[in-house]
Amino acid sequence: MNHFWAVAIKELRQIRRDRRTLMVMLFLPGFFLLLYGYALNFDIRHVALVVQDRDATAESRRLVSRFVESTYFELVGTATSDAEIGRALDSGVARAVLVIPEGFGHDLAQRMPVTVQVLLNGDNANTATTVLGYTTAVLREASIPAGASVTTRLALVEPRIWYNPELRSTLFLVPGLIAYLSMITAVVSTALSIVREKENGTMEQIRMAPISTPAFIIGKAAPYLVLSQISGILVILAAMVLFGLPMQGNWLTLNLVLAMFLIGAIGTGLLVSTIAETQQVAFQIGSLVAFLPTFVLSGFIFPIASMPIGLQYVSTVVPARYFLIALRGIVLKGSDLITVWPSVAALVVYAFLVMGLASLRLARR
């Protein structure tokens, strides 16, 4: 216990004098949240819409105004023929065309299945997918009676579900950013702090002392856990202020989940430090190890369900995957600890594994 405190106090004193590390840990994540948060936004507003209303009834006009009132669409014109529709899409005047067939109002009144057609410009698959989502949402909200179906005809569009129920991609992406920024902060700062001791020779001096490896590791990791935790909470608060991330759940649960995730991240950083001999290498390996799995394999951007089966298995050892499930659950749905328990358990298992492995590797003689 005394050993733990000796190491932890020493580490805190070092960090306090090392302003750069402190700034990097506490404020850089917030800055990156701002950058990525605005850049990684799939939301589109005021989509240029051309309408061909072959029905021209009160019902068909109501549907058009639904589109406009949603603010996702802006009515830029009407078309009277198929040729005009083609021209509108070709010239880029319209990103989307809504065709309401004759008899729409009549069928609706008769509670018969109605069909409308939506044509989308598919040159940018992401945008088209987003617009498709809006269309579907507007049509659903337009309370078309049960049995109504929507036909969409698209070119080059791969239908994938990117959205949360509110159709705001930010709400889906920001938790991923929080996971990535927390991960990279914890991994890199921990790895650097150990490798710095290797470079300065103090690591050797500590190994010559009668201090157990776990006491050293825990003393070393504790200050970084506290700092990463503060940093993570700051990023979450920033996400709420900047991007309107809701907080439906319990802060205590969120802190617990974040801490478990960070312990695993710090263990990962310790593992990286056993491979790297210089701070430069530690930084590069640390960033890569934090970046690639968290961005690609956690379900941050690419849904796990759409990955090849092999990658899906690989993703089961990526801690960010479980953190994301728990984080989205807590902030978006208000899930409690019992609901997110399986994810927390996975994070705890990961933390124990990497900490144990790092302990073994650092103790090796």
Binding site: N2, H3, W5, A6, V7, I9, K10, R13, Q14, R17, D18, N200, G201, T202, E204, Q205, I206, R207, M208, A209, P210, I211, R365
Partner: protein, 266 residues
């Protein structure tokens, strides 16, 4: 907890057939020697001769492949942690934390060895006086020059009053005056009963040791008081002018070239 019964064994370090291999490479090859209590024992050899590997095994940092070493009466292979409590270690890197003050460094290393309260205060005062840093307790370590750092590092290695001290090339990058002062400290400590094992490739430093072992290719090529090693060489050369002894450098070169010639046996 602090005072360890030293026993009556006049031998502080006993090494028998110590060997360490890294894969196919044998870094330390069947090395045996003894160091008496209060002796200053020098390990002389060029880089890669096996000095550091030997020291690391004696400090409990590296497991011997075979052979045995008792340090302070403890088997290094069995109880490396017990050995660590009984030894002080200082390397040429003067492993101090540059972003901590002199005082914070002392407190950290004191904490590593479980010192606290009155004992820590007493040892802290001792270290500050020995290093000549009284009044500069709150100076950042990175602003200290080489000589000060060296003495502070030595003080930190001695905080727990170890009966045995390992010095791994302790005077690298230090000016001559500081080196002389440093060796005076070492002599004083040896007189007070501390056993010192020092590795070096400075021949003038080796001269200050009671005995030296010249290491070459992982083996001890020659061992004894420097004066005897010189005499033995002079006798072998059967020089006419017997009163002009060869220097330690002559001995070193003779031993190393000899060992290189005979080294092809294994």
């Amino acid at each position: 907890m602090s005072s360890i019964p030293a026993g009556d064994d006049p031998v502080a370090i006993r090494v028998e057939h110590l060997t360490r291999r890294f894969g196919a490479f044998t870094a330390v090859d069947d090395v045996s020697f003894e160091v008496k209590r209060g002796e200053v024992f020098g390990f002389l050899g060029s880089n890669g001769a096996g000095k550091s590997t030997t020291i690391r095994m004696l400090c409990g940092l590296l497991k011997p492949t075979s052979g045995r070493a008792d340090v302070g009466g403890i088997d290094v292979g069995r109880d490396p942690e017990g050995v660590k409590r009984r030894i002080g270690y200082m390397s040429q890197r003067f492993s101090l934390y540059e972003l901590l003050t002199v005082d914070q460094n002392i407190r950290f290393y004191g904490g590593l060895y479980g010192l606290s309260g009155e004992r820590l205060a007493r040892r802290r005062t001792f270290t500050l006086e020995m290093a000549g840093l009284v009044g500069r307790e709150n100076v950042l370590t990175r602003t200290l020059s080489g000589g000060w750092r060296q003495r502070l590092a030595l003080g930190c290695a001695l905080l727990h009053e170890p009966p045995i001290l390992f010095l791994d090339e302790p005077t690298g990058g230090v000016d001559p005056v500081s080196r002389r002062d440093f060796w005076r400290l070492i002599d004083d400590m040896a007189r007070a009963g501390t056993t010192v094992l020092v590795t070096t490739h400075y021949l003038d430093e080796a001269e200050r040791c009671d005995r030296v072992a010249i290491i070459h290719g992982g083996r001890i090529a020659a061992m004894g008081p420097t004066r005897e090693l010189k005499r033995a060489l002079a006798a072998r050369r059967a020089r006419a002018d017997q009163d002009v002894l060869p220097t330690l450098e002559d001995v070193f070169i003779d031993v190393v070239t000899d060992a290189a010639g005979a080294g092809a046996t294994t």
